[in-house]
Symmetry: C2
Subunit: 174 residues, 2 copies
DNA sequence: CTTTTGGGTCAGCCTTGTTGACATAGTTAG
DNA sequence: CTAACTATGTCAACAAGGCTGACCCAAAAG
């Protein structure tokens, strides 16, 4: 470890590697959201609407508080977009059968279609990246990304390797 | 909800794999920014200030328009945070020697220290994730992420494999 | 019956993006 | 030299999507 200067400095390489990771995450997230943002604008919706539609689609009949846990925003912030989505007929609310206080959320047909369209560009982007990178790289991507998310979010992915993770373990359920 | 449950459906697996990628990116980005956001709040700054400090630190004496190209925001949005950073003594502007219209940006000592503190939590997060995932996984992570970013951003990483990418190729430079 | 919980709502604030119009200094082309 | 273009800055107004704080109701839990 004595040869520095000539690009063989391990500390510098490490620092550079970390900064590249940081920047990759920044640019990837920004580009990743741009296409859906453009579609949303046509419907006078924003990114927050997409998130709600996405996770309600992913967890049919999810309760409001479970959705809040996933999104990690305040109920006032959620309320703003959720009520628009309900009013515009993309989401319906059912009174909880076991707990009558709950408003379980579900996409309408219109909502399902909207979700499909919005997420399609993102799925295509990932499909292309996965295909070009190869199966082994995808596994590495997953490992690194899992190391970056905080524990609460990591649990979402923990046991959901091949069971589809539809509801794997979560759902407070009264 | 018919069946196909038994994990043998390749189309379902693919769909699931793509959605996991989408979600990993969402949660990773959110958690990744949270620590720096908290520090920024103490200085009455926001995430936009961090971005400016970060990229000015990364590209000393960068011009305003080059910085705008990286951030992909309007000059009015940049101006708001940049002028605060200059006023507060985190960034200094030099008149361009070759082109007197340019205001080349550079971190002050105070700015360098601030950048270090802000980015440290993010570097640690990546360092931990990289270490736990292993070198091979890191390579896979890079491949997939590069596949997700759009072309303009991809060029940043293209030739900067082992030269540190300090200024590799960019810098419009009159 | 009282307390806690799930959910909703009003009101106001902040950051950070946007568009559009305009100003000014410096560079470059004719 | 003049005209045109370029780099940067600035004012004004707007929107999205976070936040806090206060308060409400209805249902569940004790």
């Amino acid at each position: 470890m004595s040869e520095a200067k000539t690009s063989a400095n391990p500390l510098f390489l490490r620092e550079e590697e970390l900064r590249q990771g940081i920047e990759l995450l920044f640019f990837a997230y920004r580009d990743f959201t741009s296409e859906a943002d453009a579609m949303l604008a046509k419907h006078k919706f924003g990114r927050a609407h997409h998130r709600v539609i996405y996770f309600v689609g992913r967890h049919p009949r999810i309760s409001v508080s479970d959705l809040l846990d996933i999104l990690a925003i305040t109920k006032q912030s959620l309320s703003r977009v959720l009520s628009q989505l309900v009013t515009d007929g993309f989401i319906i609310q059912h009174r909880g059968p076991r707990d009558g206080r709950q408003r379980l959320l579900e996409l309408t047909e219109k909502g399902v279609e909207m979700e499909r369209q919005l997420t399609e560009a993102q799925r295509r982007r990932f499909a292309r990246a996965y295909r070009e990178a190869g199966a082994e790289a995808v596994e590495g991507f997953r490992k690194v990304m899992l190391g970056i998310v905080d524990d609460p979010a990591r649990e979402r992915f923990a046991q959901s390797r091949r069971d589809g993770g539809r509801d794997g373990g979560r759902e407070r359920d009264q």
